[in-house]
């Protein structure tokens, strides 16, 4: 992993100072929102809605200390923002992730106070997730601005953000915890209604690896080991050798998973076994 020298490091500005400036810029850019790779270009400040249906208000549906993430990150203070730019039928938090109006209004200053309290109680990290936090980039940056620079921040993302979004995120989060869900565009289109998925995610992962610490996650899906996990594993081995990979086997048939025959159950033991064999074949740097 190579840590690029960020612009604010060059000018000796603090992270919070830079975040404050970028948050203002980000809020203005809501007038033509291109935060995610859908590039809707809608004016969210004027009430227009793109595919994520998010307006200018950010809302959240979870904020609590959790221990279910990677061992090196926990306990983390997890903050889940409502709404997402993808439409994964198997989303485990679908009711809140598909609805940007779920939960309650997010106030960066208030949330920063809660996060700092958790850190003072021993939380090792603060994790911003969703839904998808990218569609609330302005609010995310406002939170960073309100937090001490010493707080270790995690950006938990679907890696479907735009170039503009990641430029504003550069240097803001210590770790990118990024999903690589689908190994081909056909499965991405079928299960999450997203085109051009693989190219976008690959590009973002390569960028994230250059600009921060990166952990890549893949959730094994029933019936999708060969078509999704194998190409993801082989690409990671080829293009991001040594990157930390968390292969997760806890798929459960949540939300609209039943729309797809193969997603109506959990991952079978032989599928898990094959997935781990693929990981070993590719010599991935697996983390728990």
């Amino acid at each position: 992993m190579i840590c690029a020298e960020t612009s604010f490091a060059k000018t000796l500005q603090s992270r919070s100072t830079v975040a404050r400036e970028r948050a203002r810029t980000a809020r203005e850019m809501l007038a033509e929102c291109n935060w995610c790779a859908h590039r809707c270009g809608v004016n969210r400040l004027a009430g227009e809605q793109g595919l994520c249906h998010a307006g200018s208000e950010t809302r959240f549906f979870i904020a609590q200390p959790e221990v279910s993430d990677e061992l090196e990150l926990i306990p983390t203070f997890a903050i889940a923002l409502s709404g997402c730019d993808l439409r994964c039928d198997f989303c485990i938090t679908g009711a809140s992730s598909w609805n940007a109006k779920a939960g309650v209004s997010f106030n960066a200053g208030d949330m920063a106070s809660c996060a700092v309290e958790a850190v003072h109680s021993g939380a090792r990290t603060v994790m911003l997730l969703g839904g998808e936090p990218t569609i609330h980039l302005h609010a995310a940056l406002e939170l960073v601005a309100a937090l001490p620079d010493s707080v270790r921040l995690i950006w938990k993302t679907n890696a479907h953000g735009s170039v503009e979004a990641r430029d504003l995120l550069d240097g803001m989060f210590d770790i990118w915890l990024a999903d690589f869900k689908f190994g081909n565009d056909a499965c991405a289109q079928k299960l999450a209604r997203v085109p051009d998925y693989v190219r976008v995610v690959r590009e973002n992962l390569l960028w994230a690896n250059e600009h921060s610490e990166l952990i890549v996650r893949h959730l094994i899906m029933p019936g999708h080991v060969e078509c999704c996990w194998r190409p993801v594993a082989e690409w990671l081995a080829s293009e991001l050798p040594g990157v930390k990979v968390n292969l997760r086997s806890g798929f459960w048939p949540a939300w609209h998973a039943a729309r797809h025959q193969e997603l109506r159950g959990t991952v079978k033991p032989d599928e898990k076994k094959l997935a781990w064999e693929i990981a070993r074949e590719c010599e991935l740097n697996l983390v728990a």
Binding site: F60, F61, I62, A63, Q64, P65, E66, V67, S68, L71, I74, P75, F77, A78, I92, T93, G103, V104, S105, N107, G109, D110, M111, S113, C114, E117, A118, V119, S121, G122, A123, R124, G250, W252, T266, A288
Partner: protein, 67 residues
């Protein structure tokens, strides 16, 4: 802090979700430390859960701000 945010501060109200499979496996989402302790008591041999306990932090027991 706003009144609304203060109202969100609920102690002892951490949220975890679980799915119990027919074969006895338990899948958990949003695992909190108190719930991990419950699961550990049910199956003390489970390394996956045990590794998430004793993280040496009061934070894991902490407040929930979830609406």
């Amino acid at each position: 802090m706003t009144t609304e945010a203060k109202n969100l501060q609920k102690e002892d109200n951490l949220v975890s979700e679980l799915l119990i499979l027919p074969d006895g496996q338990i899948l958990v989402h949003n695992l909190t430390e108190p719930f991990a302790k419950v699961l550990s008591e049910l199956n003390p041999e489970c390394d996956q859960i045990n590794s998430r306990l004793n993280t040496g932090s009061d934070a894991a027991q902490g407040k929930n701000y979830t609406p």
